[in-house]
């Protein structure tokens, strides 16, 4: 009886060490998925982020046509490679709207001139307010939005060339 009890601290210690080393070798996923997926886009209205393009509001995302909403920023490094993938999607007929987080018109214009501009509209989210309303936790993130303005899928991190086929299929499915 007592011998068994004495083993308890040792068992607990081994369990702790095994648990800690397991998480060291295989760290958990730190991405925070948005709970807004399968919900309508939250109400919002953002002013234009650059002079030659319209701003973005919730109504612009419920036009009967499925589309992508890209949360990005000119100061975000992965966004540079992602915007080229978005350009490819645009060539395949996808409508892409953008939310520029904490950005300035000058920096954004330079970013679009250098890397290409796949955006239909770009809203300026200067205090991350709309980003938070979407349950997005960083840049870049991309939301697939159906014709009724319901968020159907969230991509956390930059889209790459291998995502193109999948995104096109999803946009077709939510039509």
């Amino acid at each position: 009886m007592t011998r068994g009890l004495r083993l308890i601290p040792i068992v607990l210690l081994v369990w702790l060490v095994v648990g800690l080393s397991w998480r060291l070798v295989k760290p958990g996923d730190t991405a925070i998925p948005s709970q807004m997926v399968e919900r309508p886009v939250p109400p919002f209205a953002l002013p234009p982020a650059v002079d030659n393009k319209a701003g973005l509001s919730a109504a612009d995302l419920a036009t009967g046509q499925p589309r992508l909403l890209n949360v990005f920023a000119s100061w975000c490094v992965p966004c540079v490679t992602e915007v080229k993938v978005l350009g490819e999607l645009k060539r395949r007929g996808v409508t892409i709207d953008g939310i520029a987080v904490r950005d300035t018109p000058n920096a954004l214009n330079a970013f679009l001139a250098r890397n290409g501009d796949p955006y239909e509209r770009i809203g300026a989210d200067r205090q991350s307010e709309v980003q938070i309303a979407f349950g997005s936790s960083g840049v870049p993130e991309t939301f697939v939005i159906d014709g009724k303005g319901v968020i159907r899928r969230q991509y956390i991190g930059a889209l790459n060339a291998s995502n193109v086929a999948g995104v096109l299929r999803e946009l077709e499915q939510v039509r």
Partner: protein, 136 residues
């Protein structure tokens, strides 16, 4: 000499593109004029988890997104919104992950039961000790 100067410059170097080039949001590092409201905001911010520095509360974090969340909390409290409503609004977006306050959902039951279990175990241990002593 040139090399030394360059390495000294590195000491004060700032990451060029890790953060945006906009100043922090107005209420991110500014107290509300009403002390009662500021206390409410502080209490809530200490219980909200930063999305960037995931072990910190937004009250402690230097991340820009945490600053924007502090601004959001203070603005909403100044507008008369209840802290519980703001917490609920954020949970609706990020799940219970965003809040440090334990919920009553089944996943948190072990947390609530642990103190009781430990107390019982402690009581049992003391009882055994006392019994052993009296037998001596």
């Amino acid at each position: 000499m040139k090399r030394l100067a360059l390495s000294l410059l590195l000491v004060v170097a700032q990451p060029l593109v890790a953060d945006s080039n906009l100043p922090p949001a107005y209420w991110s590092d500014r107290q509300l004029p009403d002390p009662r409201q500021e206390a409410e905001a502080q209490a809530l911010m200490a219980e909200l988890r930063c999305l960037v520095c995931q072990g910190q509360s937004i009250a402690d974090s230097d991340a820009e997104l945490a600053g924007d969340m502090r601004d959001l909390v203070r603005r909403r409290i100044a507008a008369g919104e209840k802290p519980s409503a703001i917490r609920g609004w954020l949970i609706q977006r990020y799940g219970t992950w965003i809040s440090y306050k334990p919920t009553d959902e089944p996943a948190a039951w072990p947390l609530w039961l642990a103190p009781l279990a430990l107390l019982l175990a402690g009581g049992w241990l003391i009882r055994r000790r006392v019994r052993l002593k009296t037998r001596d």
